[in-house]
Each structure stands twice: as structure tokens, then as C-alpha cells.
Symmetry: C2
């Protein structure tokens, strides 16, 4: 039986027991506000602390949420039984209705159903994808990787110029064969396409993954699974600005909003390849930097305080962003010629193991 | 020789001739402000009118733009010669520099280089993709379609749950085999995934394409090429709101911003499948509609005036959006059950040919 189904059934069984024992039916939900999010320096991941709160059926402040939790649990069990996947928006519509003989709706807004799904994730310690609830899609892959997905065998090295589109839910995908020395994760699709066109992944025996901005859950999961299942180093290649550095941080440590699933979405061995401020100086990119906005500087100042950015090299990089008030995009490397990134920048950085960790 | 290269060389040749004839070197660029954008009721497309303007080398107001036009033309010819593709952002960085013995930059901002690329598109009557300048990516396809792309043969019916990711540039892609009765274009990825999971494209012998919102250029081009090269009907399936109806309008007639390439990006035979206000009433979706925002109503009022929305059925639909102040999302169909869209709604609409044109 699927893990998620079993966990939902156990939850239902627990409630039934409460009823039989004439106990006020209740569930225990770990708290996920900032006060309960901790950086675990051993696992090097953002995780939830030990605090949790009880939700009761017979409690004027809890009753509605309790009902909503049960509705969504039952709905997800149905999804798993029928082997159907859907989105959070569809779930909201599918469960929205007016309760009989009342003016009370099960849900009025999707903002009520979304957090209950996260409650389930936290409480049952599973991914929402395992509840058959798909997330947004974004991200593409190219490299010597063969996958099996819904009965199809797909060779990610033979998909033309577009590469493989990472689906919203990769829980049931199998990586059957991988032939690569490392994974290069690239923030922007334009740079990914440039590398793909220059056959960088063939020449350097690597897997290229573009996140297309902040990585979607599916993309984070693909990076983690490839890194762990095939013991591959991961190098992250982003713009030099607070936003880019945070993309690296999310890939490596997990994100604040999804701290409860860092162990399923984070890739602790990921290293930051660039762009760094030293790159700007060493590769003569100064003419191609742009002025940082107020919001960039503010974000860098926040990040200076994060526990997982306390190493001297990171403090130095963040401080240089603040003091020099510049940023550099991946595309700035084109200022040195369109093949500079594939023929000079990346080979030099990777050969010298010039990474931040 | 590639069409685009030939056209750039002709442009260069013309300037050289001007110089030899001691004429002030000049180029003729069709105007693309709103005043020169017309709806052609014969071709049923948005196109440019006949107005154009000359750009001179020796003219204080034109000289810089003339230089920029030449720089970009030469750069694109290089891209074609080397068979390299790149993005507008990379082009900007690659050409940005300070002119010798001056404080004058070739380009200060990308907002200067972008319109010159459009100038070239209009002037040479080619797509920017033919100049090897890639656009944003968005959009996926699944169905019985076999393509050839950069030497790879890809069967779009065998790509697992994600489908085929439409690349940013599909000019060099060949559609080798297509076995379908029609194309169903879907605004949202969630609905696309639902249909894909239910094997709708197999059961109904069609091609599914999701635009993921406003269609990217590559997606519009794929729809048009499949429709024309294989003589397939196209049905567009969007949210019931001004934004959704405009997605249909862009696919069919072209967009105001890209009116000069409507003949390459528009699909005149596209029909609107839904959601319509009649669907809301006939399929009992009233409980799943949501309140329209001010901005929705305003947009619908603008669209009421567009020449290509003057048919009584469109006027009726737009007016109903304004008067009833509601909208309905594709996901609202899930209010009737998750398989309602695949088992009831779409088969009914398609069987009854219940389309707007």
C-alpha cells in the first residue's frame, strides 16, 4: 500500500478510536511559524522544531478547521485510490460546497484549503505530491539520463533543443540510467539553452538543469534525487544578487516556507559555483554589471543574519554586494563573447574547484 | 542560404549602394504604433497598415539608432553564420560597449536594443527566431506527433507525465508524423495534466497543448504550424474572463504588440470552445463562479470595442461578463467532480460543435 494512503488511514483510525473512547477527537499538528523553524547545523538543513498544537473537534475555534482537515484527508485518500492527480485549485473547487441546512461553506477561499494541505504534509510527514496534489511546473533537464514515467522510457539526451520538461509530480518517476560526473543547476533558461546548444553536457559529462528562477518543488526534488541516488556533486550557477544566492540557499538548505520538507527537497551537498564578486573582478565583467536596487541591498542585509550564511566567505560576498551596490546577471558573461561561458568561465571554475559551500 | 541571412545581406548591400551613390544612407521601417495597426477583415488578422518612416545615417535624431540597427544586423548575421542562438538579454550584453574616444555607449539599456530587433523583424519581414534570437519558453504538448529537432527524433506520445516542452525557437523543428483529428489548446497546465492523466488525447485522437497563460511565441508558432501543415481544427479552452478570452484572441488573430508577425503567429481557424456563460448555466457551474474584479470588467469593456469581437455572440458573451460580474476558471469544472471535464464537459461540447468563432 502507498505510504501516504496508510498514513491517512491511520489518522482516520486514530479519530475513530477517540470517538469510541469518548475522548474529544483531536489531531496533533507541528507548528510551522518562524518561531519553530530552526537551522540544524548537523544535517545543515532548515527544519521544524519540536513545538506542536492540538486541533480538537469539539472546540468553537477549531471545529471548522477540524472538519476541513477531515474533508481534505478523505479527498486525498480518494485521489490515491483512484490514482488521480490534481492541483490545489481543483481540490478547492471539488470540496467547496454549502453545508446542508446552513449558510456555512466548507471553504470560502483557496486560502483556507491550502494551509490544511500543508498541515497534512507536516502531520503525516509526507510530501503533498504523495497525496496526489501537483505543484506548479517549471524547470528543464538535459543529459545522459534515462527515466521511466507512466510506462514511457524517456532518454533525456535525445529530446532535441527543449530538453525534458520536469513534471509537477516526480514521485513515481524512476531514474533508470545516469551517466554523468556532476549536475550543473542554472538559474536561467537562456544560459541553459546556450550550454545545451554548445553541447556542454556531452563534452563535460554532466547533467544540466535549469530552474527558470526560484526552483519549483518538482525541480528541487529532481536535483535531490539525482544527487543522492547517483552520488553526484551539484554546482549551482545563478546571477550575482541576493535573489540568485537565495536560489542556491533554497536548493541546498530548503526554504523557510517549506522547512517541514527540507529533507525531501534540499540537497545538502550543493555548492555555489557563481557568479561571485571575485568572478566579476577575475573575468573582467565590471563593465557588464548593473546597479543594485534598494530591494536587493535590503535582501542581502537580511541574508547576512541567516545562520546558514555565517561562514566568512559568504559574509564577505554578501557584504560586497551591499558595499559595491552592483549585481551581475548570467547573461553578463555574453559581454565577453557568446561562447565565453562554455569555453572559458565554466571550465575554469570547475577545474579549479572554485566553489562556495 | 537561410532567408534571414540573405535579407540582412541585402540590407547591407543597399546601404553600401547608398554610400557609393553618395546618398544619405537610409532604411525604411514600417510604423507599428496603434495608428498603423489594422484588423484585416479578409485575412481576419491584425496587421500593419502601409505607413513607414525612413531612418537616416546623417541625421542628428537618427544617427544613433541607425548605428544600433547596423550593429544588431551584423550581430544576427554572425549568429546565423556560426549557428548560435541567444536571447535578447545576451544580445544586449554582447553589444554593449563604450565607443572609442567618447563617453557614448552603443546601448545603455536593453530597452534600446529590444525595439531595434522588432524594427528588423518588421523591416525584413522575418521572425526574430529566424535571426537566432530566442524568446521566453512556456507551453507543453502531448499527442501522436513525431518531431525532428537537432538530429533527435522525439515521439510526443511517449514522454511520460510531463509532455513535450516547447522550445524557445521552433523554426528548425520538423513535424514528421501527426495522427490527430484536432488540437485542443488549454490555458492552464493543471487542466492539461488532468486531461493527459485521463488519456484524453488517446481516447479522442487529438493533440493537447497547454499555453500556461498567455501563449509564448513558440507556442503560438507550434499551434499555427500544426494547424496549417496538417489541416487540423483548433479548439481553445480557457477561463471565462476577459483575460481568457484574450488568450483565444491572441492565438487566432495575433496580438497588438506583435501585429507585424500575425501571419506567422496567428491561427485563423481557431475556435473558442469555452468556458462560456452558457456553460455556466448549462453545466450547473454557478456555485463555482467567482466575483469579477474591477480590472476584469474594464478589460471586457475595452474588448467590446475591438473590431474582431463585433459578432453578436461575442458581444453577448462580453456583455454578460460585464453585467453578471462573475468569472469562472477551468478548475471550476472540478466542482462537478474531477473527471467531469474529460468525461462530460469536453465530449459534449465537441460533439455538439458548441464553439464560438
Amino acid at each position: 500500500m502507498k505510504e501516504a494512503k496508510k498514513k491517512i488511514e491511520n489518522l482516520g483510525g486514530k479519530i475513530l478510536e477517540d470517538i469510541e473512547k469518548k475522548v474529544n477527537p483531536n489531531i496533533d499538528i507541528p507548528i510551522r511559524t518562524l518561531s519553530n523553524i530552526v537551522y540544524d547545523s548537523k544535517t545543515r538543513m532548515l527544519t521544524l522544531g519540536g513545538k506542536s498544537a492540538k486541533r480538537f473537534l469539539f472546540h468553537t475555534g477549531h471545529a471548522k478547521k477540524f472538519m476541513q482537515t477531515m474533508l481534505i484527508s478523505a479527498f486525498c485518500k480518494d485521489l490515491i485510490d483512484q490514482n488521480i492527480h490534481t492541483s490545489l485549485r481543483d481540490l478547492f473547487y471539488a470540496l467547496k460546497r454549502t453545508l446542508p441546512n446552513s449558510n456555512e461553506n466548507t471553504f470560502d477561499e483557496q486560502s483556507e484549503s491550502n494551509p490544511i494541505v500543508v498541515d497534512l504534509e507536516v502531520m503525516l510527514n509526507i510530501l503533498r505530491e504523495q497525496l496526489h496534489l501537483n505543484a506548479d511546473i517549471r524547470g528543464r533537464v538535459v543529459g545522459n539520463v534515462v527515466i521511466s514515467d507512466r510506462g514511457d522510457t524517456v532518454d533525456l539526451s535525445k529530446l532535441g533543443s527543449g530538453g525534458w520538461a520536469i513534471p509537477s509530480n516526480i514521485e513515481d518517476i524512476k531514474f533508470k540510467k545516469v551517466n554523468a560526473d556532476y549536475i550543473l543547476v542554472i538559474e536561467k533558461n537562456a544560459a541553459f539553452e546556450r550550454l545545451h546548444e554548445d553541447k556542454f553536457w556531452q563534452k563535460h559529462k554532466c547533467i544540466l538543469i535549469t530552474t527558470q528562477g526560484q526552483p519549483a518543488r518538482g525541480t528541487r526534488r529532481v536535483i535531490q534525487r539525482l544527487a543522492i541516488e547517483f552520488d553526484l556533486p551539484v554546482y549551482v550557477f545563478t546571477d550575482l544578487d541576493a535573489y540568485g544566492l537565495y536560489i542556491y540557499s533554497v536548493i541546498k538548505y530548503g526554504s523557510i516556507g517549506l522547512a517541514h520538507v527540507s529533507d525531501r527537497l534540499g540537497t545538502t551537498n550543493a555548492k555555489f559555483l557563481g557568479l561571485t564578486m571575485d568572478d566579476v573582478d577575475n573575468f573582467n565583467l565590471k563593465n557588464f554589471t548593473i546597479k543594485a536596487e534598494e530591494v536587493d541591498t535590503k535582501r542581502a542585509q537580511e541574508m547576512l543574519k541567516y545562520k546558514w550564511f555565517q561562514k566568512p566567505e559568504w559574509q564577505k560576498l554578501l557584504k560586497s554586494l551591499i558595499s559595491r551596490k552592483i549585481k551581475a546577471e548570467l547573461e553578463s558573461l555574453s559581454g565577453r563573447g557568446l561562447k565565453f561561458v562554455t569555453e572559458t568561465y565554466l571550465p575554469t571554475k570547475i577545474k579549479n574547484k572554485d566553489f562556495l559551500d
